[in-house]
Amino acid sequence: MATVTGTPPPDVARQMLRSILRIRMVEERIRDLYADQEMRCPTHFSIGQEAVAVGVCAHLRRDEQVTSAHRSHAHYLAKGGDLQAMLAELYGKATGCASGKGGSMHLIDEAAGFLGAVPIVGSTIPIGVGAALASVLQGSPVLAVIFFGDAATETGVFHESLNFAALHRLPVVMVCENNLYSVLSPLSCRHPEGRAITQLAQGHGVWNRHGDGNDAEAVHALAGEAIAHARAGRGPAFLEFKTYRRLEHCGPLEDRHLGYRKPGEYEAWMARDPLKLYSQRLRARELVTSADLETMAREIAVEVEDAVTFARSSPFPTREQLAAHVYAP
C-alpha cells in the first residue's frame, strides 16, 4: 500500500469527521447518564483526543489488530467496535462486550480487530507486539496498532517491547497520545526537560514521527506513513501526537478547580478542539454543509439512543456467571 500524504479523499474526510462526531456524541451521552450512577465502573473519557484514534484507524483493515489501555472508548469505536456492546458493558450487563465482567477499562471486540484494552499502564504494549509476532510466525504478517498515553513511555515494558519489535522488524505501529498529563502529574515531573518522546523511539532505532493530535488530517497523514512502513516489513513505527484531555482523568466531570492545569492551557486547547477544527475545515473545503452535519448528528443521536436503550434494557448477568470463565474448557 502506498504512502498516504496530503489531504485524504473526500469520502475518507467525511467519514473521519463523522467518526469524530460520533465518538464525541457517544461520550457526551455517557457523561449525562453517568450521573444516574447506573454505570458503576471507573470510566476514562477521550473527549478532546478523538482525532488521534480516528486519523489512525481510518487506515486499518478490520482484521488488523488494535490494543489500548484505560482510556479506550475512542480507539474501540474508531476501530469499529460494537457500540451497543460497549454501552452494555459500561452498564455491567450480560450483553456487554465483556459480559459485564470488564467494564469501561476492559473493552474488547475481536470481530472488529480490537484485541483488548486493560488498565495496567503499559501492559498491552507487549501484547500488541505479540499479536504481530504471531502473524509473522504464521507466515502472514498482520499489522498491530498499539495505543497508549505519554506515561506508558515511562514503563520498562514499553522499552522491552520496542526493542523486541525492532529486533524482529515486526509489523507494529505504536501510537502515543501525549495529553501532557498522567492523572494530575505534568510531564515535568516524569520526563527530563528537553527530551522529546520520539527520542525514546529513536534510541531504539525505530522509525518515528510526531504531530498535532488535534488535527485529524495531520494524524491521518503521519499514520499513513507509519502504517505503510510497518506493513511493508520495514519494522515497527512510532508516532507521538500531542493532544489534550478536556475532562478529569477518570470520570465525567470538568476538573479545572483542581488547579493542576497551566493557566490558559485549557482555553488554548479548547480553541483547537478536534471536532470543531475538522468540521470547520471540511465546511471551508465545502465537503460538508451545516445541514450535512445536522443530518450526521441526527443519525448518530438515534444510533446512540438505540444503544442506550439496548444497554439499559439488557439483563444483568445471572449469579451463575460469577464462577463461569475462570478457565477455558
Binding site: Y34, Q37, R40, C41, P42, T43, G92, K93, G96, A98, G100, K101, G102, G103, S104, M105, H106, V118, P119, I120, V121, G122, A151, A152, E154, T155, G156, S182, V183, L184, S185, C189, R190, H191, C250, G251, P252, L258, G259, Y260, F316, P317, T318, R319, Q321, L322, A323, V326
Partner: protein, 352 residues
C-alpha cells in the same frame, strides 16, 4: 488517652506528617503523592509543608522506582512509597522480594532496608479484575518482609509510625473502605508495635481471626449475633508477618471454635495459614473444624450484579457462625443483582 476522633485516612496523613517533621530521612514517594488528590487524602498538605523533594512524584516506573527507594534506604533515607492500587506494586516484585526482603540476610546483617511500601486494596464501583486484588498472602509468604494491615484509625496511625521507624521493609496494606471510618486517635507520636495481634472483642463461643476490612464485618456480625446470645471473640490480625498467634491460640483454647475472615482469595491464602497454625497447636481444643470466610477463587468481576455475590459480608460471617455453633439458620433477604453493595456508604459515588 485522647478521645479525639479522626478518619482512617486522616490518621495516616497525621502519621506521615509527624514522622516527616521528626526525621529528615523520611520522604514520601509515589504516583501523584504531591497532587491535589493526595493519595485519597493520605498525603494531604505534606508537599506544602515539606516541599516537592520530600513528597516526590514519579514516572510510571514502579519497578525502577522501588529499586530507587531500596537504594535510597540503603544510603540512609527512610522512603515511604505509595501505590494507589496493589496491582501497581506487582511490577516491583524483584526490588521488593529479591532485594529489599533479602538484603539484610544475604549480606550477613550489615546493611538493611528501612522502606515502607503502602498499597491500597479494596473494592467497589466496578474496580474489576485488575484494580482490586488483595495479595497479602504473597507478601506474608516472603521471609524478610513485614506485612501490616490496620483495621482502625488508631492502629493505622500507630502502625504506620512503627513501620516508618522500622529498619526493615514493611508492606503496609490499606483497604479503601476503611478510609472514611472514624475512631479515637491520640495526638502526637505513638506506636502500635508491629507483630502484635489484638483481641478486639471478648466472647465465649467462637473465636474469629480477621484482617483489615473483614475485622469490621466481623464486628457487625458479632453485634448481630450478640442479640441471639451467640458471642464472637474477635482477634484482629494487624500484622500478618511476623504473625503473632498467641492471643489467637489462647482464645481458641477457651472457645474451641475458630473462624478466619480474610478478604484474599481462598486457596493458599492467609486464612489457610491461620487455620494451620491453630490446628497444629490447639488440635485437641477444637470442637469443630475451623471455617474460612474468604473471597472465592475467582478474578474480581466488574459488574455489581456479580460482585454483589463475590464479597463475603457480615451476614455470611453470622450465618457461618450459627452453623458452627449448631444454631438454627436465620432466613435472610436474597441479595439482588441490582443491590448497591459496591459502595461502603452512600457518599461513595465513584468513579474511582
Amino acid at each position: 488517652m485522647s478521645t479525639r476522633e479522626l478518619t482512617f485516612v486522616q490518621a495516616l496523613a497525621e502519621a506521615l506528617d509527624l514522622c516527616m517533621a521528626k526525621d529528615p530521612r523520611v520522604f514520601v514517594l509515589g504516583l501523584g503523592a504531591p497532587d491535589a488528590a493526595a493519595v485519597f487524602g493520605s498525603t494531604k498538605g505534606l508537599v506544602v509543608k515539606y516541599g516537592p523533594r520530600r513528597v516526590l512524584d514519579m514516572p510510571v516506573s514502579e519497578n525502577g522506582m522501588t529499586g530507587v527507594a531500596v537504594g535510597a534506604a540503603l544510603r540512609g533515607m527512610r522512603p515511604v512509597m505509595t501505590h494507589v492500587r496493589l496491582e501497581f506494586a506487582m511490577l516491583a516484585m524483584d526490588p521488593m522480594v529479591n532485594q529489599a526482603a533479602k538484603w539484610h540476610y544475604m549480606f550477613g546483617g550489615q546493611a538493611s532496608v528501612p522502606l515502607v511500601i503502602r498499597m491500597v486494596v479494596g473494592r467497589g464501583w466496578g474496580q474489576g479484575p485488575q484494580h482490586s486484588q488483595s495479595l497479602q498472602a504473597w507478601f506474608a509468604h516472603v521471609p524478610g518482609l513485614k506485612v501490616v494491615m490496620p483495621a482502625t484509625p488508631h492502629d493505622a496511625k500507630g502502625l504506620l509510625i512503627s513501620a516508618i521507624e522500622d529498619d526493615n521493609p514493611v508492606v503496609f496494606i490499606e483497604h479503601r473502605w476503611l478510609y472514611n471510618i472514624h475512631g479515637p486517635v491520640p495526638e502526637g507520636i505513638y506506636r502500635v508495635p508491629i507483630g502484635e495481634s489484638k483481641v478486639l472483642r471478648r466472647g465465649r463461643h467462637i473465636t474469629i481471626a480477621a484482617t483489615s476490612y473483614m475485622t469490621l464485618e466481623a464486628v457487625r456480625a458479632a453485634d448481630e449475633l450478640a442479640e441471639e446470645g451467640l458471642e464472637l471473640e474477635i482477634v484482629d490480625i494487624r500484622t500478618l508477618n511476623p504473625f503473632d498467634e498467641t492471643p489467637l491460640l489462647e482464645s481458641v483454647r477457651r472457645t474451641g471454635r475458630l473462624m478466619v475472615a480474610d478478604a484474599g482469595c481462598r486457596s493458599v491464602g492467609f486464612a489457610s495459614e491461620v487455620v494451620t497454625r491453630v490446628v497444629e497447636q490447639c488440635f485437641s481444643d477444637l470442637k469443630e473444624p475451623p471455617v474460612r470466610i474468604t473471597l472465592p477463587d475467582l478474578p474480581t468481576p466488574t459488574t455489581r450484579a456479580l460482585s454483589n455475590y463475590y464479597y463475603p459480608l457480615a451476614r455470611d460471617i453470622a450465618a457461618a457462625a450459627r452453623r458452627l455453633a449448631g444454631r438454627p439458620p436465620k432466613p435472610q433477604p436474597e441479595i439482588q443483582p441490582e443491590d448497591f453493595l459496591d459502595v461502603p456508604d452512600p457518599t461513595f459515588t465513584g468513579p474511582f
